[in-house]
């Protein structure tokens, strides 16, 4: 019974009085995940005015498909299992997003409420089919050993390395999106489309094709979020709702269609959740919604949103 001998470990070694710093860092790591997911939502909305209520389903779909690819590779101890899982997750979510745009949403462009309802219908079916295929057991990705363990930080002590990686990935996504939107032709077209769709069409740009590209990109970001999120937290039925809700709140706070706004929204919401949980656990949900209500009262279009 040596394995269960008491006193063998010291559970509190990483309790260093830096609890506040830990909470803030937790908030930022959570914000990083929210940003990855919500930026896809915001992007799709920005160009197409489509509120994709199936965005959480894309997150979950990407995560489950990624897991199905990841699991056999992980069993064989292949170092690239997680990386392949990420690619599979992004690809499957992007493909499904394109499929949705082509088959359902494209031809009702401009009927915003109807599109939202269609995507609600899709999300009900996707959630149920994922449950049928993958069951209710919780799953989790395991990052490569190099980023799995913990890193010692000043003030905080040992902190999960993957969380720091998460922030890095979010910053990478943010920079890549900025470059894409500001330095490429596609980005130019997207920005023009956000400003004035009709004008963009009038200048001879193939708007449906640009729309497809944006949908693939936005959905792919949901898929990426799905893998990252399911590495940091378990993947269970119901995460679709959670991430849809979070995406909604983040873009409502930050401003629809603005990537920088999404980043600000994600940071506010991530920090609010963690600080709330640390300070008044049973009322933490309220804090998030107070922020949302306050923003709506002062700036209905969101912090960096443009007036509708």
């Amino acid at each position: 019974m040596s394995d269960s001998r008491p006193g063998g470990g010291h559970g509190g070694i990483w309790m260093t009085g830096g609890l506040a710093a830990t909470v803030v860092l937790n908030g930022l790591t959570l914000a990083a995940l929210y940003f990855i997911v919500a930026s896809g939502f915001s992007l799709i909305f920005g160009l197409m005015r489509t509120v994709n209520m199936a965005h959480g389903s894309l997150y979950m779909l990407g995560a489950y498909v990624g897991y199905a690819v990841f699991e056999p590779l992980y069993d064989q101890d292949l170092w690239y299992a997680w990386h392949v899982g990420i690619l599979a997750g992004i690809a499957s979510a992007a493909a499904f997003g394109v499929l949705m745009q082509v088959s359902l949403l494209g031809w009702m462009q401009g009927q915003e409420l109807r599109q939202a309802l269609v995507t609600i219908g899709v999300s009900i079916i996707v959630a149920d089919q994922l449950l049928a295929f993958f069951g209710g057991t919780s799953r989790q990705f395991f990052a490569p050993d190099s980023i799995f363990g913990s890193t010692t930080l000043p003030e905080i002590g040992r902190y999960p390395t993957f969380r720091l990686v998460q922030i890095g990935i979010a910053v990478g996504v943010g920079v890549a999106l900025w470059l894409l939107l500001n330095k490429t032709r596609l980005g130019l077209m997207i920005r023009a489309g956000v400003d004035d769709r009709q004008m963009l069409a009038a200048t001879g740009v193939n708007v449906p094709l640009v729309s497809l590209a944006v949908f693939a990109l936005g959905a792919g970001l949901a898929g990426l979020g799905g893998i990252i999120g399911s590495t940091a937290q378990p993947l269970v039925q119901g995460v679709d709702v959670r991430f849809l809700l979070t995406s909604l709140v983040v873009v409502i706070v930050g401003g629809m269609g603005s990537i920088a706004g999404t980043a600000i929204g994600a940071i506010l919401v991530g920090l609010a959740e963690q600080v709330g949980q640390a300070m008044f656990p049973t009322y933490s949900v309220i804090l998030t919604f107070l922020i949302m209500s306050a923003v709506l009262a002062l700036r209905p279009q969101g912090i960096l949103g443009r007036p509708a």
């Binding site: 959570l30 992980y74 069951g135 209710g136 919780s138 913990s150 040992r158």
Partner: protein, 425 residues
Amino acid sequence: MDFRMDRRKMLLGALGTGAVAATGLRMPAYAQNAPIRMGWLSTLEGPFATGGQDAWRCTQMIMEENNNQAGGRRVEIVRESSNAQADVALARARKLVEQDNVDFMVGPLSGAEGIAVRDYSRTRPNQAFINGGSGAADTTLRNVSPNFFRFNMDGTQWMAGLGNYVRRTLNVQEVAIVAGDYAFPYAQVFGFSLEFCRAGGRATYLWSPLGTTDYSSIIARIPRTAGALVVIHGGSDGLAFMTQYAQAGGSLPLIGGSIMADQSMLSARGPHRRLMVGMVSAGPLADVVDDPRWVDFTNRYRARWGREGFNSPSIHGYNYYVAMQGVLLALNAVRGDLSGGQQGFMRALAASDYTTPMGARMRLDHNRQAISDTFLNRIEERGGQAVTVAFDRARDVNQTLGVPEAQFLALGAPSRDNTGCVAQS
């Protein structure tokens, strides 16, 4: 035998004969050759569907063993499903009883559902309601219903023996308890603390809401003086906690709640498994127990379900199986006679005394709640798989853990402020 076929056929019949047949002009409940109609309700939809599916597997097994007969009559099952929500379970129970005209029903699976069905059972005093797997203590402790029977123990009972073991055998003075902030963990914490604190142990409680995904601040608050970590989380919360604890380099000896060591948790791969080997937990069953009945049962389970099922029956499958044992034995005792408002059948249910596949004696108390054995388990690696191995048991655990009922009720319902740690501090 495919019960679904039966159900379909039967219901098509019912629909075919139309509204008249359903207006209440049904046959007298007791007719020697008419089949017994049993309603069966579990959670086959939503995130808890895995447990419900296993419950259905085990129910099919026991029906097959008995050739779909009990008390000399054929037993037909009308199957319904909920999604672990109380209102849905209630709607299904009403349908089974009022529309499908079942004689009695078995189910549901989860806590709040059980209380909803218990409340409903009071309005149908001439029909028996046998719990499936739901484990909220109040269902059979406060506001009880005379025709509701439960052949599984509740979350508090499941922890019997663990607190004493940790304090006395492992000689741990102080533990940190991390637990979910809702009813089931309250009940489990209560059962653990009652013994542990009475034996002189000290405990720090760290609660987190259901569905918490980030446990780092909880992990950071585990006191340095704690000699063991008691983890009472279910399902994905447990997996999340354990993964993050592993990630943070935690190394305290682990003590688990009853659903921490469930097959669904052990079959999930990942770094948490390394930590969980050696974890001691308590519950109504183990994967490996030194009893020929259990070896036989698990072998039959694997042979019958192969890859479709788990490596070993889950807690929900087991609970439904044991409940079905009680039902079929009681039907045998009354020779299938459900007349007279099922009074004879209900008396037989209340007087149940049988042995479960775990080799545990099963009886009911005056509230028709199970008195049975709880097992102390340790997680071991066997054949490349983590399994729970029973190494001790607490016998004949009643719902008040041996405390006189009035005194137990006076302690109040378990909650985050009522942890059962009453002896010390």
